[in-house]
Every structure is written in C-alpha cells, then in structure tokens.
C-alpha cells in the first residue's frame, strides 16, 4: 500500500493542482466595472502597437452584410483602425458586451429597461439601418401577389385560420381563387431579430397574440414548423406546398421569393421596399427625441410598410480607453453621415435624416 502511495503521490499532486487551478479559473468573477481578466490578459499578451488599434464587436446577424462593409470601408479610410465584427446573434452580442469581451455590441431588438438593469454599466443604443419582414408563401397555382390583413396574419399564426380559402384571406384578395388546402405555417426555430419584429407587429395588431404569445426574439409558437435562419424558413416554404413563412426584405429580394403585401394602419396594402420602409421610419423621429427605442411596426403614414424596425449598435456610455473612445465616436459620426450611402445597394433602408440628427446629439454622451 505504501509503495503504491509513493508511486502515485506525484500524479495525485498533479491532478489535485489541476483541479484547484481549473476550479479557481472557472469560478464566476464578482461583478466588476473594470475590463474582465480575460480581456486584460489578451491585451497584455498582444504585441504593443501604438499605431494599430483593434476593436472587437459582436451581435446581430441581420445587419452583418452592411456592418462588414462599413468596417471595411472605415478601415480603408483610417488604416490604423480595425474593427472586427462577429455575427453571433443579438443574444450573443448582448452577453459578450455584458462580459466585457467586446468593445460594443449589436442587437436587432432594442434593450428594454429590465435587460439594461442587468448590465453593470450604462449603454447607449444607436439605430443604424432599417430592416423589414414580409410574408412569403408557396401556393401551387396561385401566382398573384396576395394581400394580407393584420387579422389574417395573426389568425394564421395563432392557428385559428387553417385554410387558404378562409373568408379573412379571400376578402382581401378578390379575383384570386384560393384553394381549400390547409395552411402550413413556418416560423423561425432560432432566436432572431426577424422574429422579434414579426411578433412585435402581431402583438400590436392582435390583443390575443399579445396575451397568449407576446414578442421576443424567440417565442412559444402556437403552430408551425421551425426553420433555422432565413434560409431555413425559405427552404421549408419552397419545398412545402400551401405554406407561409416570414423573411427579411434583404433576403426575399435577393432570392426572388414571392411575397405578399400587408395592410398598414392607413388601410392600404403595401409591398415592402426600401421606399416604403423609409416612409415607416419617417414619422418615428418625433417619438425618438426622448428614447431611440421606438417600435416602428404598424407606423402611421399612407405609404408606410407596417412590419419594419431599426437595428441597434450598443455602445457603452463610458469608455475608459481614450483612443478607442475617439475611434468609436468617429465611426458613429461617419456611420450616420457617409455610411448611410452604402445601405441602398445592399438592400437596407437608410435612416431618415431626422433620426440621424437625433443620434448625432447622442454621440456626445459617450465619454
């Protein structure tokens, strides 16, 4: 027994040390306003480079194409600045911002007060571009563009309207012969800003939806199949006859999906396009004076598309590093002025001038 103990003693010591080290490293650190130990370690290990500054950001996948172009163009304009953006999802961006591993985050969903309270530091939210969500469908034999009323969309997604030739849908589409087949509902299986916009709209137009399901990046869908990502929803809709799903404007335009019109609060059936989305945001400026977290779904305006929203950059109000603070403020300024030129070619709607002006005023709050 003694012999075995002597033989295993060094090994046991090694294992014991490994356990202690690993447990102490993985123990959750107490909430601290300073940069996390992980980041401090990374900064310490990185070679000192007075001319090149690297900023890290993470968050929403929806605006990733425009963000990646912006950061690339900004790097060409300021070669000593490099911004690295990882599109891991809005939730991931929020988590990483909270943990201090990124300099700023991005989220499709504006952070409400409850979520902001979980942060140990103040966040300022900057809307960057606009996105729209539209209903896409696959009905064999129907090539016309269908009109959808808010009640029909809510009814379909609540599972109450089950057939395509239901009066609620047929009434808005006179002259289109709709089949009597069951509607196959398709929604997102992953959490997403697209879902947030869609459910936010349904919550506004249907009190039953609001009380039963609510709005979030991920909800408890009453009916329907789940597809992963916009491409998952499209795949299922394309392959399944008599199905309906919802996708981002950018996505639908680029993949040439048939999509329907939605009736806005003025009663007109509007097809989503860059112009109608910008129209929806135009009236929002007045409400954004005090709080930029304005929901623009079901916005007033004769030509406004009812299902759209801003996507936000989440900037810490206090940035200790002076160089980084200047860079972020400079980027925000550029983004609100020259940056908006790059949105249209990528099928994102740019911010209305009034909204950009309001945000300019907020840049000074970053100190």
């Amino acid at each position: 027994m003694n012999k075995h103990l002597k033989m295993y003693a060094p090994f046991l010591l090694l294992v014991g040390f490994a356990v202690v080290a690993l447990v102490s490293v993985t123990r959750p650190s107490s909430p601290a306003p300073a940069p996390s130990p992980t980041r401090a370690l990374i900064m310490a290990l990185a070679p000192p480079s007075p001319t090149n500054v690297l900023l890290n950001a993470a968050g929403a996948t929806f605006p990733y194409p425009i963000y990646s172009q912006w950061f690339d163009v900004y790097h060409q304009l300021h070669p000593d600045v490099e911004i690295n953006y990882q599109s891991i999802g809005s939730g991931g961006g929020i988590q990483q911002l909270k943990a201090g591993t990124v300099d700023f985050g991005a989220s499709d969903m504006p952070l409400n007060d409850k979520l902001l309270a979980t942060f140990s530091f103040k966040i300022i939210q900057f809307p960057t571009v606009l996105g729209a969500v539209m209903p896409t469908y696959n009905i064999p034999g129907v090539t016309a563009t269908l009109n959808f009323t808010p009640q029909s969309l809510a009814g379909i997604y609540l599972g109450q309207i089950t057939k395509w030739n239901d009066p609620a849908i047929a009434k808005a589409n006179p002259g289109v012969s709709l089949p009597g087949n069951n509607i196959v509902v398709v929604h997102r299986s992953d959490g997403s800003g697209t879902t947030f916009v869609w459910t936010d709209y349904l919550s506004k137009v249907s009190p039953q939806w609001k009380s039963r399901v609510g709005s979030n990046t991920s909800v408890n869908w009453p009916v329907g199949l789940g597809g992963k990502g916009n491409e998952g929803v499209t795949g299922i809709v394309k392959e399944t006859p008599y199905s309906i799903g919802y996708v981002e404007l950018v996505y639908a335009l680029q993949t040439h999906l048939p999509y329907g019109t939605v009736q806005n609060s003025s009663g007109h059936f509007i097809k989503a396009s860059l112009a109608t989305v910008t129209a929806a945001a135009a009236g929002a400026a007045a409400k954004m004076q005090n709080d930029v977290r304005v929901s623009i779904t079901n916005a007033p305006g004769a030509n406004a598309y009812p299902i759209c929203s801003f996507t936000y950059l989440l900037i810490p109000a206090h940035i200790a590093d002076g160089t980084k603070r200047q860079i972020i403020k400079g980027f925000l300024h550029w983004m609100l002025t020259d940056g908006q030129k790059y949105t249209e070619p990528l099928a994102y709607a740019s911010l209305p001038d009034a909204v950009a002006a309001i945000e300019m005023g907020h840049i000074s709050e970053v100190n």
Partner: protein, 324 residues
C-alpha cells in the same frame, strides 16, 4: 541517488524505483495513467459545469422540469418533456431502421461476399461515416423530405393510417424523416464495427457448426453472430450515442416544433436541436440556464442508456460462454 545514509530497506526501495524509472516502465505507467485520468477529469468538469450553470433553472423548476411541456421564452416557463420525447423517439426509430440494415449488411460482407468485394464495399460505407452531418441535413431537406412527403408518408397513412402512429397532416418533416436521416448516418458505424467483429470470430467455430450438419445460414445465425454479440451490441450503442447527440441534420428535418404527439408524421424537437437553435440568441439568465439544464438532461439520458447497455452485455455474456 545517495543510498548510503538511508536505512537498508528504503535504499532497496529507492533503488528499485530508480531502476524501474530508468527502464521506462514507471514513466510509461504514470503518463498513460495521467492521460486516462485527464479524460475522466474532462467528463467530470463537463458535468460539473452543466450542473453549476443550470442552478437558476433547477431551483426555479425543480423536478417539474422533466415533466413540463412548456417552452415559453417570453413568459419564462421552460420544460424538457417534448425534447426528451423527441430525442428518444428519433433515436429509437433510427436504431429500428439501422440495426437490421447494419447487422444484415455486416453479415453479408463478412460471410457471403467475396473478400475483394467486401473490402471495397466496406470502404464505401466507411466513407459515409466521414460525411459531415450538415451535409446529411441538406440531403435530408432536398431529397429525403420531398420523398417522404410525396411517396412514403401518404403510403404509410393509406395502409397504416388506422394506427395512431401515422395520422395527421403530412408535412414531410417530422419524427419519421428525422429517424430515417439519422438511420442513414448511423448505419456505417454499426456495419463496419459489426463486420470487424464477425470477421474476428475464429474459423473453428464456423467449421464446428458446419461439421455438425448446420446449413450456412444456420451456422452464421446460430453460432457466429451470437459469438460476436458483444461487439455487435457495442456498435449499436455507439450508433445510439451518435443518434442521441446529432444536431444539425436533425434540426433541418424534424420541423422544430416542441410538441409531443403520437403520430410519427408530426413535427417534433430534440434536445440537441433546440440548444443549437436557441443558445446564441438567448437572453436572460433563466432562458440560458434552462438550455444548459437541457444539456444536463441529455447527458443523463446518455448515461442511463449506456448503463443499460452495460447491464445488457453483462446479462447476456454471464458465465463466459455463448448464450443462445
């Protein structure tokens, strides 16, 4: 090492330790022991982290988490039952399809096929095991789902629709499709391992059976396969482990609807699929920790099933002789 000032016995021990060290035995023993223990340590740490990071949801829901059907991120109510059901159903279904195919194929390749054909076909089957699972998912969406929706599901519903297993609307995606895709993925594991094990059965076993008057098939089914039973069972449980944890292929073909239904044609959800879908965007501690608790549940299911496997192997090979 100075042996002079030490008591004789310690000197003798020290010398033998040093001698063994020089021989390399001790070092080899220690190093391989460390490697093995590191693996155990990793597993232990994994479970520890899953347990610790699900503390909020465990305290909130307790044991009702295992029986609750809710999954509502908006109102903060989470339950594991639909996911447990989906995971178990798709895995069992895939085994039901894959085991006859895999074991039957292995028997053919080991016993009936000419050696060159056997080697070639085994190579092709093992290629199937090397295909990434997301490719199977794409294969599922673009090939399997349409076939299921247009041909197989209506056929099953027409002839077996009186059973509760094949009722309801036909989407193409669902438990059955997921089971089929999983079966395609796990057949190579069963087939290649079973073939190896069957080939390793000593020739005298076959010869003895044939010598006693058995036909070729009787010799294989009643003598060779039971001899190789442990290995075949092992391959089946390896395949089951893969099926339980399979994520991407399943999430693309199962419909992602957290509901329990008796019908195999209905959409469902598995633990691995929901974690993959919702983890990156989950905000809020309860939501995140519920997903982590689901991971812990999957781990527990795997442990239970592996434990059952061990018991089954113990029971059928007790006494050391072939059980018929």
């Amino acid at each position: 090492m100075a042996a002079g000032s030490r008591p004789p016995q310690a000197a003798a021990n020290a010398k033998s330790f040093a001698a063994r060290l020089r021989n390399g035995d001790e070092i080899a023993h220690l190093i391989t022991l460390i490697f093995a223990a590191l693996v155990c340590l990793i597993v232990g740490l994994l479970v520890f982290q899953l347990y610790r990071n699900s503390s909020v949801s465990r305290h909130q829901f307790g044991w009702t988490f295992f029986v609750s059907r809710a999954w509502d991120p908006v109102f903060g109510d989470f339950g594991a039952l639909p996911f447990i059901y989906g995971t178990v159903v798709t895995s069992v279904l895939s085994l039901m399809i894959a085991v006859p195919l895999g074991v039957g194929g292995a028997i053919f390749l080991a016993e009936f096929a000419p050696p060159r054909l056997s080697d070639m076909l085994t190579f092709v089957v093992e290629l199937l095991a090397a295909v990434p699972s997301v490719i199977f998912g794409l294969l599922g969406i673009f090939v399997v789902v349409p076939v299921m929706r247009t041909t197989v599901d209506p056929f099953l519903q027409k002839f077996l629709g009186y059973t509760p297993l094949f009722t309801g609307p036909i989407y193409g995606v669902g438990f059955l499709t997921a089971g089929v895709v999983l079966a395609i993925m796990i057949v190579p594991y069963i087939l290649s391992v079973s073939r190896e094990v069957l080939l390793a059965v000593p020739a005298d076993q076959r010869e003895a059976a044939l010598g006693l008057g058995a036909t070729r098939w009787e010799a294989i089914w009643q003598v060779v396969v039971p001899y190789a039973k442990t290995g075949i069972l092992g391959s089946i449980f390896l395949a089951l482990a893969r099926a339980l944890g399979e994520t991407m292929a399943v999430t693309m073909v199962i419909g992602n609807d957290p509901k329990i239904s008796a019908s195999l044609l209905a959409p469902g959800y598995t633990i691995a699929a929901v974690i993959a879908n919702e983890f990156t965007e989950a905000t809020g501690k309860l939501y995140l920790q519920s997903l982590i608790e689901l991971g812990l549940v999957l781990f527990i299911i795997t442990v239970i099933l592996n434990g059952l496997a061990r018991l089954l192997i113990l029971a059928t090979t007790k006494g050391g002789t072939i059980q018929t």
